[in-house]
């Protein structure tokens, strides 16, 4: 059970959050015309590393803001400050 720091609310229990998967996976820009490979990459492909992972969390039972952070998938240790946006990739 992680203790996740929300940039707006401070450290809060994991159960207040909803995991949003990998951070920094940009959606196609409006009016862009992505190829099938590009759209498939956005929809279905994620990096799934063993080690540092940049991921998004939504403080769904708090301020409802999206944050992103880096967490080790081995130890679950949170390795970075939380950033107040979902598009962060350090």
């Amino acid at each position: 059970m992680l203790l996740i720091s929300c940039p707006w609310c401070g450290p809060r229990e994991e159960i207040e959050f909803r995991n949003g998967g990998e951070a920094g996976v940009a959606a196609p820009e409006p009016d862009a015309e992505p190829t099938t490979d590009e759209i498939s990459g956005f929809l279905f492909f994620r990096s799934n590393p063993k080690g540092s992972f940049h991921e998004r969390w939504n403080h769904s039972h708090g301020c409802r803001r999206w944050v992103s952070l880096t967490r080790s998938t081995i130890t679950h240790e949170i390795e970075s400050e939380s950033q107040p946006t979902g598009r962060f990739r350090p």
Binding site: L2, A27, N58
Partner: protein
Amino acid sequence: MSGWRLAHGGLIDRSRPVFFTFDGRRLAGFSGDTVASALLANGVDVVARSIKLGRPRGIVAAGTEEPNALIAVEPGLALRRATEVELVDGLAVRSVSGRAPAPAIDETPSEHVWHHADVVVVGAGAAGLTAAQDAVAAGGRVVLLEGGHAAGPLPDGLVDAADFVFLPRTVAVGRFDSNMIVAHERRRGTPGANTAARDRLWHIRARDVVLATGAVERPLVFADNDRPGIMLAGSVGVYLQRYGVAAGRRAVVFTANDSAYVVARDLQAAGVDVVAIVDTRVRPGPTADAGGIEVLSGHVVAGTTGDEGLASVLIVPRDGDADRASPTVVEADLLAVSGGWDPALRLLAHTGARLRYQPSAGTYGVTEVPPRVRITGLAADVNGGVGAFSTLDPVWLVPAPDGSLDRHFVDLQRDATAADIRRAVDAGMRSPEHVKRFTTIGTGNDQGRTSGTNELGVLAALLGTTLEQLGPTTFRTPLVPIPMRVLGGPYRGELFDPVRTTPIHGSHVAAGALFENVGQWKRAWAYPREGESFDDAVLRECRAVREGVGIMDVSTLGKIDVQGPDAGAFVDRVYTNRFSTLKVGSSRYGLMLRADGMVFDDGTATRLADDHFHLTTTTGGAAAVLDWLEEWLQTEWPDLRVRLTSVTDEWAGVAIAGPKSRELLARLAPNLDVSAEAFPFMTVRNEYLSELPARIFRISFSGELSYEVYVKSWYGRALWDAIAAAGADLDVTPYGTEAMHVLRAEKGYVIVGQETDGTVTAADLGLDWMLSKRKWFIGLGALDRPHLTRPDRRQLVGLLPDDPDLHVPEGSALLPSGGLGTAGNVTSSYRSAALGRTFALGLLAGGRARIGSRVDAQVAGWRVPLDIVEPVLWDPQNERRDG
């Protein structure tokens, strides 16, 4: 009958005798006893019969590691360990042999507590108390957890310390990420406690955790090592010191380390005849002070005899086969054994720490601890092989004179022996995880406290490998069993899931409505009259809407307020069709897709001002849609100047539907021009309705002339009752969600979540006309994927059974007419008053091209032929919506 109470000593209160029953026998103990110590004091040897072999078993240990002495506590028969149940007057317990009786459903209240601490100390032994004192002296919030009840008085400095919480009878059952300790507190019997909640589940966030969790002694594996009277040496010492109970009258101590010597001396001092200390080692360690008791060094106990309890012990030299055939036989009723110690560090393993065999300590331990965790006291000494614990010479298996292994018990609770491990090895198993599952060793409710390391030792011996090569099996939470009701806490009954009711709910109840659950909402399902069946009520309600006027509570529809200069651009991106050109005061039906192009939600959007839209969503999808829109706004388009607010609960709504709805509305809102020209379809008006300020939408989900009237939620019931009163002479009829479903299906309107399941596209539903070709929207880029453009995709069709009275159940499979294979399924199926027959909607492979042909449905094992028709069965030209 070998155990007895000493005349003096122990932490029990001898001035307060306590009476209890064990299997119906009335017995006496003292305040401060556990059931186990009282049973020993009363000379009860046999506390259970073993699960598979029915062998007599006695008390082995004094704590959570006890494998044999399981008891069922009356009333309710909750399964507990006798070593952990505090003796209270009137307690009634039964022994548990083999399988425990199913406990009764326990309604005992429990609660969940969330707490934050600078330091959590687990274990209130000497080391734990010292650690707590140090932490309190350093300042900060300190919590001290103690699983037992018989801890001594708190030392000075802790009694009155501020920000210090002492929780006795509280077992730390798990350590989770970010140093969260979860602990189960049993409050039953706590003097002076408010017993409203007899259990608490604590969730404690700690900056630092100190594990003063002690260690668990290992038995030794030899023939007939399971007889009552064979106990762990350290536990024999605990009964002596803490409870003033001697576990026997004539004892032998059998050890592989120095720690049991002090027990032998204490027994001797208490008046027990200690015949000998049998030490596996040729040279006992430097702390082995026998105090004059005979020491048989380099010897082992190779077997025991006895009927119900222990009668004698067979002692042979450890090495040299010559004397094995003629062992020394020593009469004894107590054999105190110590094969070594394992540090109680399972809490570390919960978060992934690996325990490995430490040859210098003769146990599985850790060489480094996670950040912000410290091990202290006995746990640290055993882990590090310090002092008496450096003198270990592990003996994993003492051979029997006849070479057999089938009475060498490894797991007493599971009745599993060294022979079982050999069978596993003979079957080709090498991994401890496999051997565990094959032999069941370690799978009892003691979770292999006393058997796990011995299992690995025996396995290593049989495989001819070393323990360094064998890792322990995985330790999982909870550390000790805790009742499911404690995990559930107060979240049961009506607190399990919130119930949402609309402001109009009372009127539905008064009208005798049946309700259905839609998400957390209770929605009026139908309003059967006295003596009327549900089906007949639905037909009557449908007829009223088609022929007269009906009213429905639509307050549960999700409502999202969208405001900001870029509101139009935002709404254009999230719906498939265009909204930025919508005139103020007008509404439009809209469809939302997920990014993969599948239908996500539908609803209407109404433009209330240039920079202000009012969105409606499905009842069940309201929260998900708001989350979805927020996600895009925050993470992809932070440049858009838009804010979203859920206003679902702010507005109560009533749909007025049917040919007579205009007349009814005109009566209620005399200032409103209700003519089709002045108040056209898909527009909104703000007007007083029966003196209530209202937002009135001309909108239809039934195909009939229809309005939806919204007022602030606190006016909801007044609105409903005013409409019902004003329409009494029009026979205004409340209709429920079932009639609403029938009416919309007759019109071929889909329900997201009923006609769709996350794999259905707009084109599959025949809604491709809603996909704008002149603007971008979420999901657009995914629509060209090859799988989404196949002609044999399942498409929405209408279905008419040949038998007009046959109702095809929703979910029925569709099969090619006369052929094999599944071609689709029925998504909606109803009896229709307007059509005078049953009808259905379904998703059918290549369905649109098959309209006019036939398909079969599988109903209760029979094929039922159906005509494939257009999905819009009622008023396909939309001639009725203007009245």
